[in-house]
């Protein structure tokens, strides 16, 4: 309050500097209140990953607001969590510099990263500072396989998602009397899509599927007509796409336009927009019956319902980046509570020992082994009339899968 009187320049500056800097002044106002615990939120906030980064930021901030409103970290005398935002843009080098900046600002831990290359670079740099790092998405398996003791991934990695995705696909197919035999893979040709395609090509034959075509494309792909026609000519029972959000939407719309309709389904694994609520809502016809195996929450938990209501009230998109970051921040806060300290080593140990289970994700108690939460698993969703429904695991499914999809009518 006192500071605000010092002139509009100062107050505007503080306003613009965001919550991170604003809390610097907090002790002055509150007098004896404990020092806030700074948490670095590293996300690609600008550039072509900005959507994912900003969604991630929202998720983490929502959790922080709730935790602070509920009295902060009690073992630290009710210390508030103070987010410090860092923009990794889309370059690993920037991510590294931002980790250094966060370390310099005295954060207790860093959360985020989203993209695998950013996460790889950021975790390694955080390790140099001895800072605990909570990965939000970053699915590449190497992230937790490098012996970095500071790095924790709450969500499932690439291998786990693919394994579950394929197992669920086989289960669906077998239950329906094996309507699907032939597969076309459509993937973006970066690290994520190509890696996925390679894995699928290796594993699908063992599950009784025949890959009849694999089509890679760059990001962004300006037009999907030719790809749609090639898919149509291959006439597969199943299409498995792996690409980023913009391209996914364009692809799905083009498939509908060209009447590409596989007999069994479009079954994505980590599909860019396949479980994206706005896509489903905006294009109920074109997106109908699209399946995805991806990060997703358990919609039936009371916490999830409250979460979804808040997200809706804020008019945010309900996406997995939001869900994961919200959950990861709760895990981190729990670890802080137990560590009763912001000391890096103590906090790291507390995270490593986490058995926290009060999140919206369908994971059960957290258990980190070599940094990977082994309870983490993906979920299968299916878009039905503009709504993303959970279809698998059946324990918390909100709808029954439609597989194969009904014939065009």
């Amino acid at each position: 309050m006192m500071h605000a009187k010092q002139g509009s320049g100062v107050s505007r500056r503080r306003l613009l500097a965001g919550a991170g800097a604003a809390t610097l002044g907090a002790p002055l106002i509150a007098g004896a209140a404990p020092a806030p615990v700074k948490i670095g939120l590293l996300q690609p906030l600008t550039g072509f990953l900005a959507y994912d980064g900003i969604q991630g930021k929202y998720g983490a901030m929502l959790a922080i607001d709730e935790i602070n409103a509920a009295g902060g970290i009690k073992s630290l005398g009710g210390a508030k969590l103070a987010p410090v935002l860092a923009d990794a843009q889309t370059s690993p080098a920037t991510a590294i510099a931002e980790v250094d900046r966060l370390a310099g600002e005295g954060v207790a831990a860093i959360q985020g990263g989203f993209a695998s290359d950013l996460v790889l670079a950021a975790t390694q740099q955080a390790a140099r500072h001895g800072l605990p790092y909570m990965v939000d998405v970053g699915v590449v398996d190497q992230i937790v396989g490098r012996g970095l003791t500071n790095t924790f991934r709450f969500g499932p990695g690439f291998g786990k998602v693919t394994q579950d995705g394929l197992a669920n696909l086989a289960a669906l197919n077998n239950a329906a009397g094996k309507p699907a035999k032939t597969v076309v893979i459509v993937h973006e040709n970066g690290a994520f899509g190509s890696g996925m395609a390679k894995l699928l090509q290796a594993k699908l034959p063992g599950l009784g599927f025949e890959v009849v075509a694999t089509i890679g494309h760059p990001t962004p792909q300006r037009d999907f007509t030719n790809i749609a026609l090639q898919v149509k000519q291959a006439n597969p029972d199943l299409i498995i796409p792996s690409n980023y959000k913009n391209d996914y939407i364009l692809m799905a719309l083009t498939f509908a336009q060209q009447h590409v309709r596989p007999k069994a389904a479009i079954y994505s694994i980590l599909g860019g927009a396949a479980s994206n609520a706005p896509f489903a809502a905006q294009h109920p016809k074109e997106s109908n019956y699209i399946m995805d195996c991806n990060h997703y929450y358990d919609p039936n938990k009371p916490l999830s319902k409250a979460f979804a209501a808040k997200v809706a009230a804020k008019k945010w998109d309900l996406t997995y980046e939001l869900m994961l970051n919200y959950s990861v921040m709760r895990v981190l806060a729990d670890a802080l509570e137990r560590a009763a300290s912001t000391d890096a080593a103590k906090l790291t140990a507390a995270i490593a020992a986490s058995t926290y289970s009060d999140t919206i994700m369908p994971y059960g108690p957290t258990k980190f082994v070599h940094g990977q939460n082994i309870g983490a698993a993906p979920v299968n969703t299916q878009i039905r009339d503009g709504v993303v429904e959970v279809i698998f695991p059946t324990a918390f499914a909100s709808a029954k899968p439609v597989f194969p999809i009904p014939a065009a009518g």
């Binding site: 959507y51 900003i54 494309h217 037009d223 719309l253």
Partner: protein
């Protein structure tokens, strides 16, 4: 490879090529007259896509109607940009102009991110999903409209440049700006008008593109490089050249995508581009040096 697939690749390539040509028309005008490489072109395209999307989502205005509104609006924007930003800050030095347009694109891209948010938006009008059944493929109606519009727009721009007083002034400035100044042409004004017309063309292209595409703050990037290749391949400043080069590039991309996979399709474009430049440096339609 079936005949049907080849035929559809040809049609698809032509349809895409028309869009490339549309996006490149404004660029080739600016390039041909001001001799500057406008890095902000993609950002202006993105901005126009947003403008068109806003008109649709807020007022229900179809992008095809929005074109009539947005073209003059973007003319004004382009005029102002060149007259009061790019011109004064570029100071006639190529390198500086380049950096100024880069700066403009950074500003537009990031303001769009801050204002519109990062989400991907699409318009949902019946026409957007209408198709014409060609047997081998369904031709999306928006693509057919874009094709016809590309022909009309390049024809219109050609007429404007070759049959009007304004056009004569623009061509005079393009050839010899010093001489044009001597005969009393206000060069800075003509430059701004040219930039305005180029920007209005981008707005038109955006309105025609939106029904079969999407808009997000990074939507322009998809077209920047390809638009530059179209401009240079067509011979800078040539509308028929841009139209032809756009179609050629669309078809090359389509076929190289078919034969080598879409991943390698860009190589087809850039290789063709490099070859054309190396062996016919003034482009397909450029005047011989």
């Amino acid at each position: 490879m079936s005949t049907a697939l080849l035929l559809s690749a040809l049609v698809g390539g032509l349809a895409n090529g028309a869009v490339y040509a549309l996006v490149a028309l404004g660029l080739t005008l600016i390039y041909g007259v001001l001799h500057i490489i406008n890095f902000a072109h993609g950002s202006l395209l993105m901005l126009a896509l947003y403008a068109s999307w806003i008109l649709w989502s807020a007022l229900g205005v179809s992008p095809y109607v929005a074109l009539v509104l947005l073209a003059p609006l973007f003319f004004a924007l382009g005029y102002a940009l060149q007259r009061w930003v790019i011109g004064p800050a570029g100071q006639g030095r190529d390198a500086n102009v380049l950096l100024v347009t880069l700066g403009v694109s950074i500003v537009i891209d990031n303001l769009a991110l801050a204002v519109f948010g990062p989400a991907t938006r699409t318009v949902d009008i019946p026409l957007a999903t209408s198709t014409i059944d060609l047997g081998v493929m369904y031709l999306p109606l928006p693509r057919l409209i874009a094709f016809v519009a590309a022909l009309l727009l390049s024809g219109g721009l050609w007429l404007l440049l070759n049959r009007t007083d304004l056009g004569r002034a623009i061509r005079a400035v393009a050839r010899e700006s010093d001489a044009a100044r001597l005969v009393g042409i206000r060069v800075a004004h003509i430059h701004a008008v040219t930039f305005g017309i180029g920007t209005a063309s981008v707005a038109a292209a955006a309105c025609l593109l939106l029904p079969s595409f999407y808009v997000s703050p990074d939507a322009g990037y998809a077209f920047v490089l390809v638009a530059f290749t179209v401009v240079v391949m067509g011979g800078m400043g040539s509308f028929p050249g841009a139209l032809l080069a756009g179609l050629v590039i669309g078809v090359i991309e389509s076929f190289s995508g078919l034969w080598f996979g879409p991943s390698l399709a860009p190589i087809g474009i850039y290789a063709a581009f490099a070859l054309v430049l190396l062996f016919r440096p003034t482009g397909l339609f450029g005047a011989r040096a």
